[in-house]
């Protein structure tokens, strides 16, 4: 018997309409855990690198994590992978919600879609019964609406449905995959799903997930829960409200948005609106939010409440989390939050990413202002700020007129438009729009995470190391006192010594070596989470989380029966990290691509940045181009990867 995982994947060939239940190799679990780890291996093994992200051979994989569906709190993430049509690199995007556990209970660890369906279909997985069903009647339906329609049609109120909206059907590069309160929205995987002709995957499962050492495992889960309760009762002092607790940013709970509205360069802007927040806005926004918010809600088996049910009078109900309430409002220069909740309703039904999409729209209006795009491109566009955004959102999602060009994101749109438009696509890393957070002084840790992160967006860069120094020694001491999560005591000393000014301050402190160490720790926990299916909000994302390097090995071991200690688990991280890097290296990723936006920090230090990158690569066992060396790969049991890279001349012999 397999523990934690089911040991079976569902392989669906959409071209032929063939469905197979395939047993997986337990050795892969020992080497890569599951989730992102095993997805990466499948992508490496199955498709050559010289392939278009819309090629039918590309496997679009919906994966549970190794702990998904077990009683481990917050182990509910679905990890979706393919090649991103936007970055052309491996695209991985994840969602919480209820879908992955349901898939486990249906008896599968992954659903692997390949080929292309000749017509629009949806997949219905009910334990051993799996069907490809006609979805022509769902064409053009909203992503939330589709989930409801399918549940009704199947008469299965407990089925969990992941669906795309019109944006995915039209292969918009910011198309998301929506499910309940969650969405996998970054890097255009909704477009890949739409290209394969799959409108939705519905799942209902009523089987058991087994545990290897039950009593021990439950005790560890109880400890995690106890710690969550402790953290909810004891917010971290001396940091901003948004950083004090667990979970993803508590944007549905908090109504005071002074800090976010005034300190981000929203939309495509290069400047902040320093005196945006006032008494009138404060009162109006609070009343709007409390009025449309029906309930704070969670994902499967998690006590946090990061999402909300949003019901705007006159519009169909939807669910929201994170920053979508602000991204559209601020990008459109609309001062009323009511607009944010209304346009997000439409955007959620269309199924688009709430970060990139408003940024693309703001970018387009900047181009119009600059005379690079013309009135002819915007024929029929209203002149008011709200109307403009609705109009352009419709054009992008339908790929009509200028919308067809913008639907590929700011990087590709700028290439196509030319005439200096490239300068306006200023906020990208590896062709992907970034969070509009522009700061003054370069932070070496963040520099590395921005530059080198394979996920290519914000969640890769936040972690459990403080974002800035504490003002006094007492505060520092207080912070490190119960900091049980550190992999090594040396990290405490860095916090003690870190100052706002002087020798031990950014950008030269934390030092290069310290920065590399810190980044490696943050990345490591992210890679665990993404392989285990545990939410970053309880692990890699916030300060002092309940999951960490000291309890993860025990939890994994008790769940699966695999012998595991900290060293063994760290090696799996290094293996997964370097394999994912190798996938992207084979796609052409090199040092020259690892560049944060030029205006990301006001003060830049080219020499230091170069040294940071050198040190980071060296630490990982990669060469100066960011390519894993043969020795590193062999040491990580990835000899077959080294061989392939050597054959391609990417790793030079000798």
């Amino acid at each position: 018997m397999r523990y934690g995982e089911t040991g079976f994947n569902l392989e669906i060939d959409l071209t032929k309409g063939n469905i197979e239940r395939v047993e997986t190799d337990p050795k892969d679990t020992e080497l890569h855990l599951g989730g992102l780890g095993t997805n990466t291996k499948i992508l490496w093994n199955r498709v050559p690198p010289e392939i278009d992200p819309f090629a039918p051979e590309i496997p679009l994989i919906f994966s549970t994590g190794l702990l998904g569906g077990t009683p481990a709190p917050g182990a509910n993430r679905t990890i979706i992978t393919a090649y991103s049509p936007q970055t052309l690199l491996m695209g991985y995007s994840m969602m919480g919600g209820f879908w992955a556990p349901e898939l486990k209970y249906a008896g599968y660890d992954k659903v692997i879609l390949r080929g292309k369906s000749p017509s629009l279909v949806y997949i219905w997985i009910h334990n051993d019964k799996v069907e490809i069903r006609d979805a022509s009647h769902l064409k053009g339906k909203g992503a939330v609406e589709t989930q409801e329609l399918i549940r009704k049609e199947l008469n299965e109120p407990n089925a969990q449905v992941a669906a795309i909206g019109l944006a995915g059907e039209n292969r918009v590069f910011t198309a998301s995959i929506e499910q309940g309160r969650s969405s996998a929205s970054r890097l255009g995987l909704g477009a890949v799903m739409g290209d394969k002709g799959v409108k939705a995957i519905a799942v209902r499962g009523t089987k058991d997930v087994n545990l290897a050492r039950p009593a021990e495992f439950i005790e560890l889960c109880n400890e995690v829960l106890k710690y969550i309760k402790f953290r909810n009762d004891n917010p971290v002092p001396n940091v901003m409200t948004i950083l004090q607790g667990l979970g993803s940013p508590q944007e549905m709970l908090h109504v005071d948005e002074k800090w976010h509205t005034e300190n981000f360069s929203w939309g495509n802007s290069r400047v902040r609106r320093k005196d945006f927040w006032n008494k009138e806005i404060e009162e109006r926004w609070k009343s709007v939010q409390l009025n449309v918010r029906k309930r704070l809600i969670s994902c499967y088996n998690c006590p946090m409440k990061c999402g909300a049910i949003i019901s705007v009078p006159g519009l169909s109900t939807y669910m929201m989390k994170c920053f979508s309430k602000l991204t559209y409002t601020m990008a459109a220069f609309v001062d009323d939050l009511d607009f944010g909740f209304k346009i997000a309703q439409r955007a959620t039904e269309y199924g688009v990413d709430g970060f990139s999409t408003p940024q693309i729209m703001a970018f387009a209006f900047e181009l119009k202002e600059a005379g690079i795009l013309t009135d002819a491109d915007f024929e029929g566009c209203p002149s008011d700020n709200e109307g403009k955004f609705y109009w352009l959102l419709d054009r992008i999602v339908r790929r009509e007129g200028i919308g067809d060009i913008l639907a590929d994101g700011t990087h590709w749109a700028a290439q196509k438009i030319g005439k200096g438009a490239e300068a306006f696509a200023h906020n990208n890393i590896k062709k992907h729009e970034q969070l509009p957070l522009k700061l003054g002084m370069l932070n070496p840790v963040y520099y590395l995470m921005y530059a080198t992160g394979e996920k290519i967006n914000i969640t890769q860069i936040e972690g459990q190391f403080p974002q800035s120094p504490f003002a006094t020694m007492e505060e520092r001491q207080e912070f490190i006192n119960d900091w049980i999560q550190v992999p090594d005591e040396k990290f405490k000393q860095i916090v003690l010594d870190w100052e706002f000014r002087g020798e031990r301050s950014n950008p030269y402190y934390p030092t290069i070596d310290m920065s590399v160490d810190i980044v490696d720790w943050q990345e490591m926990i992210h890679y665990f989470d993404d392989a285990l299916g545990v939410c970053a909000g309880l692990s890699s994302f916030p300060l002092k989380p309940p999951y960490h390097i000291h309890n993860y090995p025990k939890i994994i071991s008790a769940a699966t029966g695999i012998d595991m200690d900290e060293e063994g688990l760290k090696k799996i991280y290094r293996r997964n990290r370097s394999l994912l890097r190798a996938v992207n290296v084979r796609r052409g990723l090199r040092r020259a691509d690892e560049v944060p936006p030029e205006d990301h920090w006001k003060k830049r230090f080219p020499e230091l940045e170069s040294q940071l990158l050198d040190a980071y690569y060296k630490f990982k066992g990669w060469d100066n181009e960011g390519i894993p060396t043969k020795e590193t790969l062999q040491e990580l049991d990835l000899g077959y990867v080294a061989e392939d890279l050597e054959q391609r001349g990417i790793i030079k012999n000798g």
């Binding site: 409801e148 058991d208 997930v209 704070l296 969670s298």
Partner: protein, 179 residues
């Protein structure tokens, strides 16, 4: 009649506090697995979230008695403008739905307040509900001590009611002489 004290175990459900996470289902099914905690499967849980997020319906319901036949109450209730199935609140394992039945065997499930040896302080669903939507309460109630009549007495009483005491006594006397 004499009064006696009886311990009543109850779980108060505060719907407003429920975040819909289904941790109660997870831990319930794990606790009742055999061996304990060896597997989990919400379909075996003795508490179910009746959940319809878009309509903001979040109702945890505990499994109650098994009932062999469908009842007549299949009505709809409208509360605060939202429509609820009456079945949604029902604890019974019954023929009209698949809730509270073992998915393999179809056998009915019933909440036992996590009976354990040694006894637990409170049921596990309550312990795992950090949002306090499920609140365990024990209370003592004074109830009248019932003196249960014997089965024969119940039978005789109905005979007496029908035929009168004298006739029953005569009959009993005649029967005893015969044997």
């Amino acid at each position: 009649m004499a009064k006696i004290k009886k311990k009543i175990k109850t779980i108060k459900v505060d719907l407003d506090k429920c975040n819909g996470c289904r941790a109660c289902e997870v831990i319930c099914s794990a606790f009742h697995a055999n061996p304990k905690y060896s597997s989990n499967n919400p379909a075996r849980s003795r508490i179910r979230m009746i959940r319809d997020p878009i309509r903001d319906v979040y109702v945890p319901v505990y499994a109650g008695e098994y009932t062999a036949a469908e009842c007549m109450g299949r009505d709809k209730y409208i509360i605060d403008g939202k429509e609820y199935d009456e079945c949604g609140f029902c604890r019974a394992s019954c023929p009209s739905r698949d809730a509270f039945k073992e998915p393999d065997s179809g056998l009915p499930l019933k909440c036992d307040m996590c009976e354990d040896d040694p006894p637990r302080e409170k049921p596990l669903c309550v312990e795992w509900c950090l949002n306090d939507a499920l609140i365990y309460e024990e209370r003592e109630e004074e109830v009248e001590e019932e003196t249960k009549p014997e089965d024969v007495e119940i039978g005789l009483e109905s005979m007496v009611n029908k035929y009168g005491l004298q006739k029953v006594m005569d009959t009993v006397a005649r029967m005893s002489q015969k044997s």
